[in-house]
């Protein structure tokens, strides 16, 4: 087995500082995106409800207006 190589201090410092920077960046971005996604989900759900309501009304109107005796 080859002996372990002595990694330069700059590289070690860089690695671990990037690791912690990355963790901080990931955590902050997650906390930034989370409320926005929830808001968006709420808005989408409301939109869907409205659309469903409109579709229901349209369907009932169409059913009332069609004049077939084959029911």
């Amino acid at each position: 087995m080859a002996p372990p190589v002595q990694v330069s201090r700059l590289i070690k410092l860089g690695r671990y500082s990037f690791l912690f920077l990355g963790m901080a960046y990931g955590a902050t971005r997650y906390s930034y995106l989370k409320p926005r996604a929830e808001e968006e989900r709420g808005i989408a759900a409301e939109e869907k409800k409205k659309q469903d309501e409109l579709k229901r009304i349209a369907k009932e109107l169409a059913e009332a207006q069609e004049d077939t005796i084959l029911k």
């Binding site: 372990p4 190589v5 201090r9 410092l13 990037f18 971005r29 995106l33 989370k34």
Partner: protein, 139 residues
């Protein structure tokens, strides 16, 4: 259904029952064909420690070599080493300013590039840890 408890030294199941049908082939390998869910769970519970033991024995030497290298190569820098590291950074910046980096061979430059890329990738590993998900933000 009659309830019975096995004697202290008796296994909780015995081969005389029709519980575990098995076939010993020509090579002597036992194959288990559990018939019900309960037997399957019993099989699993009884075989898991053996499997775990096998996995541990297999991975121990590899773990040992990993630890052997990691103890020297992967430890974070002690606070005493940080000034020396900043010194090397200044040297690099200096060489970029004075143009002495042009004296590097292409092979050295490629190696430096690879090492720099690896150091930069640790940022993304940290981001994965921070956002607690491998692909994408799980909002």
């Amino acid at each position: 259904m009659a309830t019975w408890a096995p004697a202290p030294n008796e296994p909780s199941w015995s081969c005389t029952q029709e519980v575990m049908p098995h076939s010993a082939g020509r090579s002597g390998r036992r194959t288990f064909h559990p018939r019900t869910m309960a037997q399957f769970i019993r099989n699993l519970v009884e075989k898991t420690p053996a499997l775990v033991n096998a996995a541990v024995t297999y991975s121990k030497p590899q773990l040992a070599t990993f630890w052997y290298y990691a103890k020297v190569e992967l430890i974070p820098p002690t606070p005493a080493e940080i000034p020396r590291a900043i010194q090397s950074l200044k040297e690099i910046v200096n060489s970029a300013q004075t143009g002495s980096f042009k004296q590097l061979t292409v092979k050295e430059a490629v190696l430096n590039g690879l090492v720099a890329t690896e150091v930069l990738m640790w940022f993304y590993v940290g981001e994965i840890i921070g956002k607690r998900g491998i692909i994408g933000y799980d909002v």
